[in-house]
Amino acid sequence: MKGTNYLTETRGLKSWLFTLDHKRIGVMYFWSIMTAFFLGGVFAMLVRIELLTPGRTIMSAEAYNRMFTLHGAVMVFLVLIPSIAATLGNFVLPLMLGAKDVAFPRLNLASYWVYVTGALFALYSMLAGGIDTGWTFYTPYSTSTGGAVTAMVLAAFILGFSTIFTGINFIATIHKLRAPGLTWFKMPLFVWGMYATSIIQVLATPILGITLILLLMERLFQIGIFDARLGGDPLLFQHFFWFYSHPVVYIMILPGMAIMSEVIPVFSRKTIFGYKAIAFSSIAIAVVGFFVWGHHMFVSGQSPLAGAIFSFLTFLVAIPSAVKVFNWLATMYKGSISLEAPMLYAISFLLLFAIGGLTGLFLGSIATDVHLHDTYFVVAHFHFVMFGGTVIAFLAGIHYWWPKMFGRMYSEKWARVSAVLVFVGFNLTFIPQFIMGSRGMPRRYYNYLPQFQPMHVASTIGSWVLGLGFLIMAGYLFASLRKPYDAPANPWGGATLEWETASPPITHNFETTPAISHGPYDYAALRSDA
């Protein structure tokens, strides 16, 4: 790696802050989101410590309400929604297409700055007293409670624009900037996943935008839309909110699935099983995901018929999700599996996502949901999907593309230690929550019955193991950045285009526009090339 690359081509802070290079924007997003992730993680640790004992442990009930709200709001709006698409997607997608950049580089930079602006609003809200509404901002509580609700709602509104910009950019890029010969069904499945994600980003996020505006209007001017005292309808808020916020779950998980479809075949040394089924299942999830929002509202008083229809449609989502999981398993079957860090995370994903998905069925069927609604069972379920799914997949992706992004190999030994710690810590944190939830421990409560204490203690200890895992990860990743460039162009033997250019890539990605000589998972062709 003698010549210049995108990291060294130009120097100075300005060359980063005003860059139009999708790779640099991806890297800036990466560090920003990691900062938010650290902050959200600290909030989570504090929540867990508070729950070590019934009643007060370290903070008041008001502080506790703010703490779990901030954990949720930061993790959802600042971390999970942009996470994979804005960082790895931004970095890898154009490379995979053999393109020089995304379709609208300036819009891409704008998306980053809009993200930063939104983050600043969120930060202001935290410093100005925080909020205690929960991340869902349910009315009429959110229109009447104190605290810096307005700033946090504005933050979420602004962050929505950064999501929309990314979505528009990716769709136009995938349609128009594929290298000659890279037809739709020769695209890596990561790109298909990003395409499905972008569709949801573009179609769902505006609904959040108008919902939050209406919420603010109600809070500031009492316009009479969500508050029953003014002739409004609180259920309308819930419908609006979940019409966005259920699809947003797929904005979070589809990119995770997209990473799985890259990592699993590479580390199984086998071509992907069921390419088209995986590609179309992403689109199917995106489409069906728009019609299931009512399953968040089974006990809200919506009509029983609506409940039954939403329940049925919710079960329907399980089909494309299962199609993916079975195809990944079939890819691994009789493959030559090697257990480097990305693959360890991929296997964690399969186990945790399966549990997350299957426990979702308990919540999707009306009768059991009435019992489990608003208990720790729900908390454990969505953490298995959002952490066990999205974050674990994000970690798989970070470890998989780290050599490409930064040109250095990290310590494989420590990466494996950390992967195991994260897996163990996560399960220790959330499996007890399934148990106490099914026994009636309500979510978001400050106090609890003494019989739940052993499980709360186990859960809190789990959060420490998890924290240790992340600490070690930060250690070896930062350590790798201090080394000279030592990553080969293709350390894992991947067959997608991003591995054909140097690590790290040059500013224009490829010396010449790459020719498509083999499929994205055609490892046999790769061997004969070499």
């Binding site: 609208f104 950019n169 136009a172 573009v202 935008g209 209007m217 001017f221 009492q222 309808d233």
Partner: protein, 214 residues
């Protein structure tokens, strides 16, 4: 780089001007979809609240001036026509016509806002305002503040879009004067045109919903 020598507006990551133009079109159409969804929330809210409170909504709409509403509809429709003519002029390399039609569109947009200003000041004067600011006296049907909440939110958001559109038109007008556009490259004119038609289209729905339906 001889291939791109004659194409000063071709960005480095596109191979041909056609590719760049089509990518821009996709991006604009997607943006318009998000705009429709954004207004969609207001339309749904309006529909629901109207069905809950039909008497108040019907009573309240009599306070709006249909003549001014109709006038504004005509103004916007004409401005859409001048926009089409501007795009056509760009496509056929007629720079003076392009500049003239863009300027005309800008004028009509200004007229629209002027009429809107007259309407708004009338409402302010009568206390026909959204939410807690509503102070109109002598209502026989309660709850009319809700109608004016929606009236101001819908026309207000639309008005912001008109302002944004005027900014965009001003920008392409400036570039037209500088001679940036020709039949080889007129993407910004085309995209601003698309946006302007959407703003017009939304008004076509706002006018009957707010002014006409009983």
């Amino acid at each position: 780089m001889s291939r791109t020598a004659g194409e000063p507006f071709l960005q480095h990551h596109f191979a041909t001007p056609e590719q760049q133009f089509e990518a821009g079109k996709i991006g604009m159409w997607l943006f318009l979809v998000t705009e429709i969804l954004l207004f969609g929330g207001l339309f749904v809210g309006y529909g629901l609240m109207r069905s809950r409170n039909p008497a108040a909504f019907s009573e309240a709409h009599h306070h709006l001036d249909r003549i001014l509403g109709l006038l504004n509809t005509v103004v916007l429709l004409v401005s859409s026509f001048t926009m089409v003519m501007a795009v056509h002029a760009a496509r056929t390399d007629r720079r003076k016509r392009l500049i003239a039609f863009l300027a005309l569109t800008l004028v009509f947009a200004g007229v629209f806002l002027g009429i809107k200003y007259i309407e708004y000041s009338h409402k302010f004067h009568e206390g026909l305002l959204p939410g807690k600011f509503y102070s109109h006296k002598g209502d026989t049907v309660p709850g009319q503040f809700q109608f004016f909440s929606f009236y101001f939110m819908m026309t207000g958001l639309h008005g912001i879009h008109i302002l944004g559109g005027m900014g965009a038109i001003l920008w392409v007008l400036r570039r037209s004067v500088q001679g940036h556009f020709s039949s080889r490259y007129y993407t910004p004119v085309d995209l601003v045109g698309l946006y302007w038609h959407l703003v017009d289209l939304i008004w076509i729905y706002l006018f009957p919903l707010l002014y006409l339906i009983r």
